[in-house]
C-alpha cells in the first residue's frame, strides 16, 4: 500500500499554482491538486489514484481564512475543517455548516482536511456538498482566465466530479448566514459514529403563523451527488408542522430518488428507506429550532 511515483510541486502563490496547472494541462500531464489530502492519500496508497504530478497548495497562506462579510461568511479553501469547526462565527451564524463539519470523519481527519478539499473532491457521501446545496453556497474558482463564481447547483456534477477545470483552483466558498428564525438540521445515519453516512440530510425550515413557509431538503450518500428533494419540500409547503407530515415528506422525498447507491452496508431499497427516515428526523429537529 505505497503510492506510485509522482512529481511534486508546492507553489508559493496562487498565481504560480495556476500557471503550473496550465503548463501541465498544455503538456497533457495529469496533475492533481493536493489540499489536505485526507481523501486523496488513501487513494494514492491504494494506487487507485495515479496522478503524474501533485500540486500542493499548502503554502498559499492567502487561502487560509474565515471572514465575516455581514450576511455572508467566506472561507478560504485551504482552511482546515477543524478551524471551521472551532469558528464561533460559523457556529453562531451558520450552524448548519457547523453541524455538517462535526459529522465529518474524526478529529484528526478534520485537523488536516481542508474545507475546499471536500468541495473539490465531491464524494457522494461527503457532508459539505449537501450543506452547499442546502445553503445555496457559492464557490469561487480562479484559473488562467481569471475568477468565476459557481453556484452549488452547477458545481457538483457527478461522482467525484465538479465543474472545476483542470487549470482552476477553488479558492473560496461562500455561504449566507442563517436567516433569523430558520430551523436547521444536519444529520446522518451511519454504521459507526464517524463513518460515511448510509444516508444523510441537510434541512432548513421556516415557519410563519404556525405553518411552514419555506423549506429546503437535501440528502446525500444516496446518489452520485447530494440531491435536493423538491417533492419533499412540496409536501411541506403551507402545512402545519408535525410528525406525520414530516414522515410524509420523507416518503415523498425518498420516492423521487433515482437508483440509490448500493454497497456492502446497505442495499438501494434500504438507502431509499433511510432517506425517508433521516429527512423526517431532520425536519423534526429543524422544527424544534425554528421560530415563527
Amino acid at each position: 500500500m505505497k503510492p506510485a511515483p509522482f512529481d511534486y510541486y508546492a507553489p508559493e502563490s496562487l498565481a504560480d499554482a495556476i500557471a503550473l496547472l496550465a503548463k501541465f494541462d498544455d503538456e497533457g500531464v495529469e496533475a492533481k491538486i493536493l489540499a489536505g489530502g485526507q481523501s486523496l492519500m488513501p487513494m494514492l496508497s491504494l494506487r487507485v489514484a495515479r496522478p503524474e504530478v501533485l500540486v500542493d497548495l499548502r503554502k498559499l497562506a492567502e487561502l487560509h481564512y474565515i471572514r465575516d462579510e455581514g450576511d455572508t461568511i467566506a472561507i478560504g479553501s485551504m482552511t482546515s475543517k477543524r478551524a471551521a469547526e472551532e469558528s464561533a462565527l460559523i457556529r453562531e451564524r451558520q450552524p448548519l455548516f457547523h453541524d455538517a463539519t462535526m459529522n465529518i470523519g474524526h478529529l484528526p481527519i478534520r485537523a488536516h482536511g481542508t474545507v475546499g478539499g471536500s468541495f473539490a473532491h465531491a464524494d457522494p457521501a461527503a457532508e459539505y456538498p449537501a450543506a452547499a446545496i442546502a445553503l445555496d453556497m457559492q464557490m469561487k474558482a480562479v484559473g488562467p482566465d481569471g475568477a468565476r463564481v459557481i453556484g452549488a447547483r452547477d458545481f457538483f456534477v457527478t461522482y467525484l466530479t465538479t465543474d472545476l477545470a483542470a487549470t482552476e483552483v477553488l479558492t473560496e466558498v461562500r455561504m449566507p448566514v442563517l436567516a433569523p428564525g430558520t430551523g436547521w438540521s444536519f444529520r446522518e445515519i451511519s454504521r459507526r459514529k464517524g463513518d460515511f453516512a448510509l444516508a444523510g440530510a441537510a434541512v432548513l425550515l421556516s415557519l410563519a403563523g404556525g405553518r411552514i413557509s419555506d423549506s429546503r431538503v437535501v440528502v446525500f450518500a444516496v446518489n452520485a451527488t447530494a440531491v435536493r428533494l423538491p417533492a419533499a419540500e412540496q409536501v411541506l409547503r403551507g402545512q402545519a408542522p408535525g410528525e406525520a407530515l414530516f414522515r410524509e415528506a420523507g416518503l415523498a422525498g425518498a420516492a423521487e430518488i433515482e437508483e440509490p447507491i448500493a454497497d456492502v452496508h446497505a442495499s438501494a431499497d434500504f438507502r431509499r428507506h433511510l432517506v425517508s427516515v433521516v429527512v423526517a428526523r431532520g425536519l423534526a429537529e429543524a422544527q424544534s429550532r425554528a421560530r415563527g
Partner: protein, 808 residues
C-alpha cells in the same frame, strides 16, 4: 521430587502474598507506552530487502504463464519469486486433515482472490510494489465455488482435484441415546442459523524479517509469531530444512487473536532471501492484504439445530448440523474450530444426549484461520438461541429456563456427552449475580414500559462455558495428532538473588510476563522489580507452544511453579548445610531459608544462592552449583479420544453470564446497547485487572461479530471487503462500558485454581446481543438468525414482519 503443582495460593511459601492474585501494574507497559517495544516493523538488518506480493485478482483461475522479466529489470529489484521456485524448493503446506494445503505461492492455479502468485524483494517496499505491477500473469478463469451450500454439488468444480471432492471433513458424532431422547421429548424446537465470516484484525498485521544463511544452510525468521515452535516445525516441512536449522525469533505482537498470515509470508520472505543470495528480507503485510488473505477470516457457517425438551422444561437432547466453509483449503488450521465445540458442546446444561453432524467444505473464499475462541462463539449463539426459543415457546422466563437446566455445583467434575470433563463451577450463582447486578426485575419493568410506548426494547441473557487450557487431543477429530501441549520456563537466580525467567513466547497483550513476575516475586519473597522475564528464541527456549486456546496464563504458571519447586529443593539442600539442620527441617518462607521449628535460624535467599554459586566447598557432596531449573508443564490427566471424539480435552471450564438491555430502532434497524452486565467465574484470578481486560476486550470483539463485522463476498466469490472502511471494527462509541462482577470457583486441577480466561467474553457476547435483539423483536414475531445483526438485516426483518406495508 514430584511435588504436585499447587492448586491454591495457600501452598505458596509466603505468609504475606503481595503480588499474585492482586492488581499490579504490568511489567510489559513501560516499553509499550514509550513506543520502544520492538514490534517487527521496527526491526531492521543491514542490507535488508523489502518484499511485496502480487496476488490473484481472481477467485479461481489457472495460471497459464508468468513473465517476470520487466519486474526483474526494474532498478532496485533483487529477486522475483514464482510458483516455479515453489515446486523446485518446497512442499505444499501441511494441514489437518492432510492433503488440503497449497504451496505458499500459487502453483498451477489460484484458489482465492488475494492468493499470492508472485513476490518481489527490492530495496524498498515502494519499489517492490512498483515491480509487482510489472509482472505479467496470464490467467484462464475457472468457475468459482462461491458458497458452501453448493460446494458439494456434483456439478461444482473442485478446488483440489486430486482429492476428488470439496469435502474436507464429514463426520457424524452421536453421543448418548439421541434418537431416544428426541422420541421421548414433549417438544422439539428447530431453527436455522447463518454465521457470516468475521476475523481477528489485530491492529498490527503480520510481519517478518527472514534470512537464509546459504553457507550454513540455516534460516532465521524474526516475526510477529504467536506460536514460535509450531511455526518452525511448519516451515521445516514446507522449506525442506531440518527444524533445528530454523530459528524462529518472535517479536512482541500488536495483538494476535489467532492467525496473522504468518506461514505464507514467512515462506515467501525466506525464499526471497535464498534467491537473493542470503540478504535479509522484510515482509510487512498491509491492511488490504490482511483483509483479503491474511489469516483474518473465520467461521463461515450454516447451522440447523434441534432441541428436545420435556414438558417440565428439562432439556434432554441437542442436535446440531453444521456446514462449515473453510475457504480455499485447510492451510490456516481453521478446521480445528469445528472440533473445538466438542469441549463444551452442551454448554452449561445437563443435556444427556447430543449429535453433531459436520460437513467442512472448501470454496474459493479466503482460507479460514483461527480467531479468538476458535469455534465456540457461533456454536454458543446456536445453543443459546435454541434455549431462548424453547423458553419463549414454553412461556418460561429465559433466566428461569436456564436455571432449571444448569449442571449443579455438586455434580462436578462433570463429564458432558461429547466427552470433556468440566472441572468445577456454580452456574446458578453466576446467573444470580448477573441478574442482581442488572436489576433484572426492574429491567423487565422498564421493557414493559418501553413496549407500551411502541419501542423495541429487549433483554438478553446468555450463559456459557469457556473451555480453557487446550490440548491437542481436542482436535483429533480433524486429524491433529497428539496429547499434551508443553509450556516451559527456565528460571535462574544469580549471586545477588535476582531472578531471570526465560520463556518461549513473546508479548501479545495478555500480560503473562507480569503474571510470571508476580508469581516468582511471591514465591521467592522479592520485589517484582527483582524479576526479569526474558523472551528466548526457538534455538534457546525450553519446549513451548505460546499463546492459544485460553491456556498460557495457566500453563506458564504451572511451569513456573514446577521450576520454583525444583529450585527450592536445591536451596533447601544448600541451606541445610549452612543452617546445620536436616533437609526435611529446612523450608523456604518469605524470602528466607529457615528451620521449621526454629524460625529464628534463617538465611536470606540471596545468601544461600551466593553460597551455592561461590562456595562449592560448602555444598553437599555431588550437588551442582546451580540455582536454576527448567520446568515444562502440560495439563494433567488428558486422554486420547475414542471413536466418537470423546476425551478429556480442555482442563478448565470457566463460566460467565452476560445480561444486556438493547433498543432496536425500528426505523433504521440499528441496535443500541443500553446496559451490559457480566458475572464471570474463571476460578482464581492471578491478576484481576488482566482478567477484566480480557473480558472487556472480548466484549468489544463480540459486539463487532454481532453487529458490525462481516467479510462480504459476491456470488462469484469476489470479496467486497478490503479496507477498514468496509470491515467495521468497533470504536469506543460502539462498545458498551460494562459492569462486571467476579465469582471465584477455583479449579481443583489447575495451577493455583486459575482457569483459562482469554476467550470467555467473545464466547458469550454475540449470543447475548442477538438474544436481546430477538427479545426486542419478539412482539413482531421475527427473530434474527443471521449475523451480524446489521441495520439492513434487522430492518429487513422488521419490514417483513410488518408485511411490506411501507416499502420505503
Amino acid at each position: 521430587m514430584t511435588n504436585a503443582i499447587p492448586t491454591s495460593f495457600d501452598a505458596l511459601p509466603t505468609t504475606q502474598r503481595r503480588f499474585i492474585g492482586r492488581e499490579v501494574d504490568r511489567i510489559e507497559d513501560r516499553s509499550l507506552v514509550t513506543g520502544h517495544a520492538p514490534f517487527i516493523d521496527n526491526f531492521t538488518l543491514p542490507d535488508m530487502l523489502h518484499c511485496a506480493i502480487l496476488r490473484s485478482p481472481h477467485p479461481h483461475a489457472r495460471i497459464v504463464g508468468i513473465d517476470t522479466s520487466r519486474a526483474e529489470a526494474l532498478p532496485g529489484v533483487a529477486a522475483v519469486l514464482t510458483g516455479e521456485d515453489m515446486q523446485r524448493w518446497c512442499n505444499p503446506t501441511a494441514t489437518a486433515p492432510e492433503g488440503w494445503g497449497p504451496y505458499s505461492l500459487a502453483v498451477g492455479k489460484a484458489r482465492f482472490v488475494g492468493e499470492p502468485v508472485a513476490a518481489v524483494a527490492a530495496t524498498s517496499r515502494y519499489i517492490a510494489e512498483d515491480a509487482c505491477e510489472l509482472i505479467d500473469v496470464e490467467y484462464e478463469l475457472l468457475p468459482p465455488v462461491a458458497d458452501a451450500t453448493t460446494a458439494l454439488d456434483l456439478a461444482t468444480p473442485l478446488l483440489f482435484e486430486e482429492n476428488g471432492s470439496n469435502l474436507i471433513v464429514g463426520r457424524n458424532f452421536v453421543w448418548g441415546d439421541v434418537e431416544g431422547v428426541f422420541a421421548a421429548a414433549d417438544r422439539v424446537f428447530n431453527a436455522k442459523f447463518r454465521w457470516n465470516r468475521v476475523g481477528a484484525n489485530p491492529t498490527e498485521t503480520f510481519g517478518c524479517v527472514c534470512q537464509w544463511d546459504l553457507i550454513e544452510d540455516r534460516l532465521t525468521c524474526h516475526g510477529s509469531y504467536q506460536t514460535p515452535s509450531f511455526m518452525g516445525l511448519g516451515r521445516a516441512h514446507v522449506l525442506r530444512l531440518p527444524a533445528n536449522r530454523i530459528n524462529i525469533v518472535s517479536h512482541p505482537q500488536g495483538g494476535g487473536f489467532g492467525g496473522k498470515g504468518g506461514p505464507r509470508g514467512t515462506d515467501i520472505a525466506s525464499l526471497l532471501s535464498r534467491k537473493s543470495g542470503g540478504r535479509p528480507v522484510k515482509y510487512i503485510e498491509d491492511r488490504v492484504e490482511y483483509l483479503l488473505a491474511g489469516g483474518g477470516q473465520s467461521w463461515d457457517r450454516y447451522y440447523e439445530a434441534w432441541l428436545a425438551v420435556r414438558a417440565d422444561g428439562t432439556v434432554t437432547g441437542l442436535r446440531v448440523q453444521l456446514l462449515d466453509d473453510q475457504g480455499a483449503g485447510a492451510e490456516g488450521y481453521g478446521t480445528i474450530s469445528v472440533a473445538k465445540p466438542l469441549a463444551a458442546f452442551t454448554g452449561c446444561y445437563r443435556i444427556e444426549a447430543a449429535e453433531y453432524d459436520v460437513k467442512v467444505v472448501c470454496t474459493n473464499r479466503a482460507p479460514s484461520y483461527p480467531y479468538r475462541g476458535y469455534g465456540p462463539p457461533p456454536h454458543n449463539l446456536v445453543l443459546e438461541s435454541m434455549m431462548d426459543l424453547a423458553a419463549r415457546e414454553l412461556g418460561v422466563d429465559p433466566a428461569e429456563f436456564r436455571r432449571r437446566n444448569y449442571i449443579r455445583p455438586e455434580q462436578f467434575p462433570y463429564t458432558i456427552p461429547s466427552g470433556n470433563e468440566y472441572d468445577s463451577g456454580n452456574y446458578e450463582a453466576t446467573l444470580d449475580k448477573a441478574l442482581e447486578l442488572a436489576g433484572y426485575a426492574e429491567l423487565r419493568a422498564q421493557q414493559q414500559r418501553a413496549r407500551a410506548e411502541g419501542r423495541l426494547v429487549g433483554i438478553g441473557i446468555a450463559s456459557t462455558i469457556e473451555p480453557g487450557v487446550f490440548d491437542w487431543n481436542a482436535y483429533a477429530t480433524v486429524g491433529v495428532p497428539g496429547v499434551g501441549v508443553p509450556e516451559g520456563i527456565s528460571i535462574g537466580i544469580n549471586l545477588l538473588g535476582e531472578i531471570t525467567a526465560r520463556v518461549g513466547f513473546n508479548l501479545q497483550g495478555q500480560g503473562q510476563y507480569t503474571v510470571v513476575a508476580q508469581l516468582l516475586a511471591d514465591w521467592f519473597g522479592v520485589e517484582m522489580g527483582a524479576v526479569r522475564v526474558v523472551y528466548t528464541d526457538t534455538d534457546h527456549a525450553p519446549p513451548h507452544f505460546g499463546q492459544g486456546g485460553s491456556r498460557l496464563g495457566v500453563s506458564i504458571s504451572g511451569a513456573a511453579l514446577g521450576a520454583c519447586q525444583r529450585i527450592t529443593v536445591k536451596l533447601r539442600r544448600a541451606a541445610s548445610v549452612l543452617l546445620q539442620a536436616p533437609f526435611e527441617q529446612v523450608e523456604l518462607m518469605d524470602g528466607v531459608l529457615r528451620v521449621k521449628d526454629m524460625p529464628q535460624a534463617q538465611i536470606p535467599l540471596a545468601q544461600v544462592v551466593g553460597a551455592m554459586l561461590a562456595r562449592s566447598d560448602l555444598l553437599p557432596e555431588g550437588m551442582q552449583p546451580d540455582a536454576s531449573a527448567t520446568s515444562v508443564w502440560t495439563a494433567p490427566g488428558r486422554t486420547a479420544p475414542d471413536e466418537m471424539g470423546r476425551c478429556k480435552s480442555y482442563l478448565t471450564a470457566a463460566n460467565a453470564c452476560h445480561v444486556v438491555l438493547v433498543e432496536v430502532d425500528a426505523d433504521t434497524g440499528k441496535t443500541e446497547i443500553l446496559k451490559y452486565v457480566i458475572a464471570d467465574d474463571c476460578g482464581t484470578r492471578l491478576n484481576p485487572s488482566n482478567v477484566e481486560g480480557m473480558i472487556q476486550g472480548g466484549v468489544a470483539q463480540g459486539v463487532g461479530a454481532a453487529l458490525l463485522e462481516q467479510y462480504v463476498y459476491t456470488d462469484e466469490a469476489q470479496p467486497l471487503v478490503s479496507t477498514f472502511m468496509d470491515y467495521l471494527v468497533p470504536t469506543i462509541n460502539e462498545v458498551p462500558m460494562t459492569q462486571k462482577a467476579a465469582l471465584v470457583t477455583p479449579s481443583p486441577f489447575a495451577p493455583l485454581g486459575a482457569k483459562g480466561c482469554g476467550e470467555g467474553a467473545i464466547h458469550t457476547t454475540p449470543a447475548v446481543l442477538i438474544a436481546a435483539i430477538n427479545d426486542a423483536l419478539s412482539p413482531l414475531g421475527v427473530q434474527v438468525r443471521e449475523t451480524p445483526a446489521s441495520p439492513h438485516r434487522v430492518w429487513s426483518l422488521i419490514r417483513s414482519a410488518r408485511g411490506d406495508r411501507a416499502s420505503v
